[in-house]
Each structure stands twice: as structure tokens, then as C-alpha cells.
Amino acid sequence: MKHRSDTVAMSPIPSHVRVALELRIPSDVRYIERVVEMVTRQCAELEYHPRQLALNVPVALTEALSNAILRGNREMPSRSVRVRAEVDRDRLVLEVADEGTGFDLEACLVDPTSPENLTREDGRGLFLMKRLMDRIERFDNHGNVVRMTLRRHD
């Protein structure tokens, strides 16, 4: 279509915009990067803060996806991961669902910054999700769902 960007630029922005992205991927970590790219792009359109686009969203989502693929689904080819991202100018809600039996979020959350954990190779995923998002929840819905919420900053 022959759009001229100055053309659309003159057309005002809707008073309310909400985008819901629903994705399904196989239990394979190679898919993560593309999913992250698709979600951050939607956030970029709604002018999330550059730091949220470069740090909070990609890192937290990557952690949730790799846990879903490696822990929840144990990379079983018969299982897939579903992602739902709902974005508006107030907040991003990310839901990552796997086909595992779930886990105890509080119990699994260790402090990787403590002296005894600092030199460990693993155990920073849930911690980063918690620190980079405003809220993180876990619930069951035909499998395990992790929901993360982030308020938009300009």
C-alpha cells in the first residue's frame, strides 16, 4: 500500500489502544528470541521506556519462556508453550503457559545475590523476573501459567 508516513502522522492516534498477542511455540529454546522480538515490538509501538524494551521485557520474558520449555515441558516435543501478551499504554501483562505440573513460586525463589549463591551458575531466573516486573503470579490452567505484569513508563 502506498502510505506516506507524513500522511498517517496527520491522522490522530486512537484514544485507547490495546494489543493482545497470542503465540504458541514448540518446546525449543530457539523460538525464544523471535517471541521476545514480537512482544517488545508491540510495547515499542505503545512507547514503553527504552529500558523496559531493552531490559525488563526481554529478560523477564526469556526467563519465563526458558523455564516453561526446560522445566515445565522438559523439552518434550509433544508439549508446546503458549504465550499471551496484552499491552496497552498503562501496562503489559505477559502469560506464559506450559504443560507441566507447576511449581511453588515462593519456595523456588532463592536469593542469588547472597554470598553462598553468588558464584552459582543457575537460580537467577525467577529472581530476575521478580525484580524486572512489577508483579509475578503463578496459577494452574490445564497446566502451569506464569503471569507477569509491568506498568508502562515513558
Binding site: V29, R30, I32, E33, V36, R51, A54, L55, P58, V59, T62, E63, S66, L70, P112, T113, L118, T119, R120, E121, D122, G123, R124, G125, F127, L128, R131, L132
Partner: protein
């Protein structure tokens, strides 16, 4: 994502281009371990062209740093942008690694 390795003086410099995450961290690990096996001692990882790093990417850095030290070598990091710096600060890994602002400073410091 790709890892470009080259020698600068007696330092092995690795450029991390794109993401350092669960899907590719093994590649970085293997490349550095190969150099270590070949007898290299000084390693510099340059993050000037890096996007984001996840916990498993951080885990590989921790692991490499240990292995390099075991062989009497040194690992330095350089060129972290503000977002990557925050990631290292959040995880307190900025206290574990020697981090230089620029590649030049990192090279001088060996």
C-alpha cells in the same frame, strides 16, 4: 547472534553480537573453553554489540570465569551499556567480575 573471536596482543577478545541467552550460550562457552585449552590465559568479552543477556547467559559467564581462574587466567568484561550494567548490579555480579567501561581500558588493565 554470533561470537567473533580474535587475538589482540596476548588477549583473546570475544565480541558478543546480539543476544546471549539460553539458546546460544553453549556456543560462547565452547569457543572460550577451546581457547583456554589451547593455552590462552587472558580473555576479554566485549558487550558493545550485545542486546540482552538472560540468567543462563550470566551463568555461563560465572562458569567461564571460574574455569579461566582455575587455569591461572583472567576474564574481563567491557562495554556494558546501562541496561546490561543494571542487570549485573541487580544480580550483584558486578562484584564478581572485573568490568571496564571500554575495551581499551580493559586491555590496558591486564
Amino acid at each position: 547472534m554470533s561470537f567473533a573471536i580474535r587475538k589482540q596482543g596476548d588477549v583473546v577478545v570475544v565480541d558478543v553480537e546480539g543476544q546471549l541467552i539460553v539458546g546460544n550460550r553453549q556456543e560462547l562457552k565452547q569457543k572460550v573453553l577451546d581457547e583456554l585449552e589451547r593455552g590462552e590465559k587472558k580473555f576479554l568479552i566485549d558487550f558493545g554489540h550485545t542486546g540482552y543477556i538472560d540468567s543462563s547467559g550470566l551463568g555461563v559467564l560465572v562458569s567461564l570465569s571460574k574455569k579461566i581462574r582455575e587455569q591461572g587466567g583472567e576474564l574481563r568484561l567491557a562495554n556494558l551499556n546501562d541496561d546490561l550494567k543494571t542487570l549485573f548490579e541487580l544480580t550483584k555480579l558486578d562484584t564478581l567480575f572485573q568490568i571496564a567501561d571500554t575495551k581499551e581500558r580493559a586491555l590496558e588493565s591486564f
